[in-house]
Every structure is written in structure tokens, then in C-alpha cells.
């Protein structure tokens, strides 16, 4: 357990160095970029002192990292607002979208993957695999645009864009999220179906499954009893690996549906070259991915009794 924590800390440190180095590579002087061409030498020096960019590289890095550890993500270069204040209200949007998208993807992929595995030599299995292959090729933002056209514009059933915080009106919140979550979840489900299928296929070849079948259990019962737990192991891994894909998917989907989330903020700040905010958001997203994957690592032990025995011995 300690070793895993150490690996997590090391990964985090490595990621923070990479992000910091890239955002420091900005050609030219930050203060000059902010103040524009007309700035005097004194103004530039004052701005540098204010931003802290006149300090050595390593000091700036450590300041950034230890600031984040205490919840201080720095300040926006242009507006001067604390990055944490900018991120705060937007995190709800992105979390709703990512969690909703992942849940929907699993809800679709689990049954379909089971069908694809059990009926793999019959037409339902063939159909499912084909649908998954096609679904994987559809860009989520295109799916989003088509959904907006059908359900938002033509049928008018759901709002085509925008967002309402859950605290203000939960029903409106849900209605605004249906289309974005569907666009993100359905495309992600197509990727997951193949993993679920191969996880179940593996179970079908194992002894305990065959034994359960030989004592007269139906295939579905044997799979429900032995398959799900065994498949859960590889599924948890896949969800961990796919999380990064779902998060970047959410960034694009936020643009499609004009949702005021972290992704929209990130893209706005990229076009303004406000790297203080950009690196704060990117670090937060990478932290989320690494943390979930560390949890995935830990959860193996909970899911697989064999690992539990090894861990305690």
C-alpha cells in the first residue's frame, strides 16, 4: 500500500514538472506579453516582481507546487483573479458531465458486452460488435451536433445548449445534461463494449464457469455469479484508463453544448495565453486521472481475494 502511495506521489511530481516546464517555454517575456509593446522598463520590472517571474526557475516551480498543496493555484495573469476562484464554480459542470458520461457508458456497455461474448457466433453478437466498431469511429462532437439537431432543434424536446446549476433547479440541470451526457457516453460505450466482451470471453474459458455450467446452471446465471466479479477486475482497469479519454471528450463536448465547465475555461484561457490558469486546470485534470488510477490499483485488492492474500502475507 505504501509503495503504491509512493508511486502516486512520484507520478504526480513528474506530471507537475512536465506541465511547469512546458508552460515556462513561452517564447518571450510574460510581463511583456501582458503589458504589450508600450511598456517601460520600470513597468516591466514591476510586473515581473508582481508575477514572481524574476525569481529563479526552481523557486517558481516550488512556489507553484506548494501553493497548490494548500489550495492556492496562483492568480490569472490578466484578470488577477485567483485560479481557484475561476475553477470552483465550473468544476460542477465538468464533474456532472464526466460522471454522467462514464455511468451511461457502463450502463450501455455491460449488457451489450455480455451479449457480444455469449452470442458471439450468432447474429446478436455480430450486430453488437459491428455497432461498437462503428460507434468507435464516430467523433463525440459530431454525435453531439447531430443530437442537437434531432432533439434540440427539430423535435424541441430538450434544450440544445446551456447549463443550469443543480442547486438552482435540479430538473433543468438534468434536462440540460441529457444530450451532452448521451453524446459523451454512447461513443465511450462503443470503446468499452470491446473490453467488456473480451473480459467476459476470458471468464467463459475458466474452470469455475465450466463447473457451474456442468451442474446445470444456465449461461446467464453462471456468468452473473462468476463472470461479473472476474470481469470487474479488468473493467475497473479499463475505466481507469478511459478516464483520461472521457475528460478530454468532456472538454470538446462542453464546446459543442456551450457548457460553462473547466473545458470551456481552459479553451478560453488558451486563446488568451493566460498560462497561469491553463497550467492550473491541466494540473487539476491530470491529478484527477492519476488519483483515480491510484484508487483503481488499490481496488484490485478489494475485488480479487487472491491479491488480498498475497498482500497480507
Amino acid at each position: 500500500m505504501l509503495a503504491r502511495l509512493g508511486i502516486f506521489a512520484l507520478s504526480l511530481a513528474l506530471a507537475s514538472v512536465v506541465i511547469f516546464v512546458i508552460t515556462q517555454a513561452l517564447p518571450g517575456d510574460v510581463a511583456a506579453v501582458i503589458l504589450g509593446h508600450g511598456a517601460t522598463a520600470e513597468q516591466l520590472a514591476a510586473k515581473r516582481a508582481e508575477l514572481g517571474t524574476d525569481r529563479p526557475f526552481v523557486v517558481q516551480y516550488l512556489d507553484w507546487v506548494f501553493g497548490m498543496a494548500t489550495g492556492d493555484f496562483g492568480r490569472s495573469w490578466f484578470s488577477g483573479l485567483p485560479v481557484a476562484t475561476l475553477i470552483g464554480p465550473r468544476a460542477e459542470v465538468t464533474i456532472s458531465l464526466v460522471v454522467g458520461g462514464l455511468l451511461l457508458a457502463l450502463l450501455i456497455a455491460l449488457p451489450l458486452g455480455a451479449v457480444a461474448a455469449l452470442k458471439r457466433r450468432q447474429w446478436p453478437g455480430f450486430l453488437t460488435s459491428t455497432a461498437a466498431q462503428v460507434g468507435m469511429a464516430v467523433p463525440a462532437f459530431w454525435a453531439g451536433i447531430l443530437l442537437v439537431f434531432v432533439f434540440g432543434v427539430t423535435l424541441g424536446w430538450l434544450p440544445p445548449n446551456g447549463y443550469v446549476p443543480i442547486g438552482r433547479d435540479p430538473v433543468a440541470w438534468a434536462r440540460h445534461l441529457v444530450l451532452p451526457v448521451t453524446a459523451l457516453g454512447v461513443v465511450q460505450a462503443a470503446v468499452l463494449v470491446r473490453y467488456v466482451r473480451s473480459a467476459f470471453l476470458e471468464v467463459l474459458g475458466e474452470d469455475h464457469y465450466r463447473t457451474a455450467r456442468s451442474i446445470g446452471w444456465t449461461r446467464w446465471r453462471a456468468l452473473a455469479r462468476h463472470g461479473v466479479r472476474n470481469a470487474a477486475l479488468s473493467l475497473v482497469t479499463v475505466v481507469g484508463l478511459q478516464l483520461a479519454a472521457v475528460i478530454v471528450g468532456a472538454i470538446v463536448i462542453e464546446r459543442v453544448f456551450v457548457l460553462p465547465g473547466l473545458g470551456s475555461l481552459l479553451l478560453d484561457m488558451v486563446s488568451q495565453h493566460d498560462l497561469a490558469v491553463v497550467r492550473g486546470i491541466v494540473m487539476l485534470l491530470v491529478l484527477a486521472v492519476l488519483a483515480i488510477n491510484a484508487l483503481v490499483d488499490v481496488s484490485y485488492v478489494l475485488i480479487d481475494p487472491r491479491l488480498r492474500a498475497r498482500e497480507s502475507s
Binding site: 508511486i7 512520484l10 507520478s11 513528474l14 506530471a15 512536465v18 506541465i19 512546458i22 508552460t23 517555454a25 513561452l26 517564447p27 455480430f126 466498431q133 462503428v134 468507435m136 469511429a137 464516430v138 467523433p139 462532437f141 459530431w142 451536433i145 447531430l146 442537437v148 439537431f149 432543434v153 470491446r194 473490453y195 466482451r197 473480451s198 470471453l201 484508463l241 483520461a244 479519454a245 475528460i247 478530454v248 472538454i251 470538446v252 464546446r255 459543442v256 481552459l266 479553451l267 484561457m269 488558451v270 486563446s271 495565453h273 498560462l275 491553463v278 497550467r279 491541466v282 485534470l285 491530470v286 486521472v289 492519476l290 488510477n293
Partner: protein
């Protein structure tokens, strides 16, 4: 069945390549300049897929868009393979602790998907086709390292490599003469699947305005433009999407088909 998958994939890929090649010598109309054509015309004659909001022929833009998609894919996958394959062989060769450290770094790299890296680079250096290609390429390196290492480990454990080492053959020679030919099929499959992902990433970046510049036709940006006119002219959102999906499906099918064709023992998901 599996053979059919490979063939459908090859036909789709050949189709995209043909569109791209055709665009070098012929497009029905000027794909970039504003013409005298009516704006947002529906499909018909002479504009078979209609025109966009600038009055530019959609079919001509689809043709040139194929070129943009393949260009980004070739460079990005090229970068990933040229860096990832040698590193993967190295990881297989390194002592345990070295390989362990390297694979941990690869794990961290998986937390930086192509799009996130591209967005970060666009924030620092400005958005361009080059930063997009570079970001997609770098983000794809880990996949090549993993695949190459897995393949190289089994090759390095074989008797003929042992014999070569015993007879004093230098390491780089073994890598080129024995390891590379025996993992070429794995790298080929990975390249095809990565190509599909590169096309998807480029489309998303262009849609966001962070990839191919507005002056060059690209499928992703066409979808972005089409979204503006979705209420009045939804048809414009169909063709670029179909083109992206067709190209991605093609490369994915070729990858899967190749995998099963070359090594039937391999599972569909590795």
C-alpha cells in the same frame, strides 16, 4: 468474417487515400476561394454535396480535407513509431529496475491524452497544424513503447537471440536483425489503430480551432462551421462527419483485421 473486416477496412482506407491523391490534381471547384456560387446551397448539380456558408463547394473541401487528415496522421504516427519503437526495445533490454522506471513514466504519460497535450502546447506556442501533429505524436509514443516492449521481450528470450548474443553480436545489430522483423506486425497493427485515433484527435482539434488553420480545409473545422448554420442548413453537418467516421472506421478495421490475420491467437483487445 474476419477476412471481410480487413477487406472493408482496406477499401475505406484506399478510398480516403484516393480522395487525398485526387485533390492534388483535381477538385471540381476551388476549395478555398470564395466563388460566385450561391451560399449554403443544397446538394445537387454542379455542387454534388452543396456549398458552405462562404459559397465554397463542399465536395471539393471534403477532398482536400482527406489530405489534411492523412497528413496529420502520417506525421503524428511517424513521430510516435520512430521514438516509441526504439524506446520499447530499450525497455525490453534494460535491467529490471530501469524498465520498471520507464514503464512508470509511460503510465504517467497516459494521463496526458493527445488533446490535452495539444491544448497545452497551443496555449504556449499558439495553435497550428504543427503543434497539433507534434502533440498527437508525442501522446501516441507510450502506446508504441508498450507494444514494442511486449513483443521484444518474447523475441529476446528466444534461442536464436541467445545464440547471437553468445557469438558476440552487438546489441544494436540484434535489435535490427532479429527483434525488428519479428515485431513488425505488432507495430503495423498499432500504427493502423493509432492512425485512426490521430484522425479523431485532429478532427476534434480543428473543430475547437486549435488544429488546421482556417485557410486549409479540414473535416473538423467544416463541422464547426456547419454547427453555426445547424438551424437553417443541417445538411452541411453530415458530410464531414461521415468522412471522419469512414476514415477512422477504415483504419480501425485494418488494424483489427491485420491483427487477426497475422496472429489468430491474439485477442481482439490487447
Amino acid at each position: 468474417m474476419k477476412r471481410a473486416e480487413l477487406w472493408i477496412g482496406l477499401v475505406l482506407v484506399a478510398g480516403v487515400v484516393a480522395l487525398a491523391l485526387l485533390s492534388f490534381v483535381w477538385t471540381p471547384f476551388n476549395p478555398t476561394g470564395v466563388g460566385s456560387a450561391p451560399r449554403l446551397a443544397p446538394p445537387g448539380w454542379p455542387h454534388v454535396l452543396g456549398t458552405d456558408h462562404m459559397g465554397i463547394d463542399t465536395f471539393s473541401r471534403i477532398l482536400v480535407g482527406a489530405r489534411s487528415a492523412l497528413y496529420v496522421g502520417i506525421i503524428a504516427v511517424g513521430i510516435a513509431a520512430l521514438v516509441g519503437v526504439p524506446l520499447g526495445i530499450l525497455a525490453a533490454w534494460l535491467p529490471r529496475w530501469g524498465a520498471e522506471g520507464m514503464m512508470r513514466a509511460v503510465d504517467v504519460a497516459y494521463a496526458f491524452p493527445a488533446l490535452l497535450l495539444a491544448i497545452l502546447l497551443a496555449g504556449v506556442f499558439g495553435a497550428s497544424t504543427e503543434t497539433a501533429m507534434l502533440a498527437i505524436g508525442i501522446a501516441t509514443i507510450p502506446a508504441f513503447i508498450r507494444v514494442t516492449r511486449a513483443g521484444a521481450l518474447s523475441v529476446l528470450a528466444s534461442d536464436y537471440v541467445l545464440a547471437a548474443r553468445a557469438s558476440g553480436t552487438p546489441v544494436p545489430v540484434i535489435a535490427v536483425r532479429h527483434v525488428l522483423p519479428n515485431i513488425a506486425h505488432l507495430v503495423g497493427v498499432q500504427a493502423s489503430v493509432s492512425f485512426a485515433m490521430a484522425i479523431l484527435a485532429e478532427a476534434a482539434l480543428s473543430y475547437l480551432g486549435l488544429g488546421t488553420p482556417p485557410t486549409v480545409p479540414s473535416w473538423g473545422r467544416m463541422l464547426g462551421d456547419a454547427q453555426t448554420y445547424l438551424f437553417s442548413h443541417p445538411g452541411q453537418a453530415v458530410w464531414p462527419g461521415l468522412a471522419i467516421a469512414g476514415a477512422v472506421l477504415g483504419f480501425n478495421l485494418v488494424g483489427d483485421g491485420l491483427r487477426d490475420f497475422l496472429d489468430p491467437k491474439l485477442q481482439e483487445v490487447s
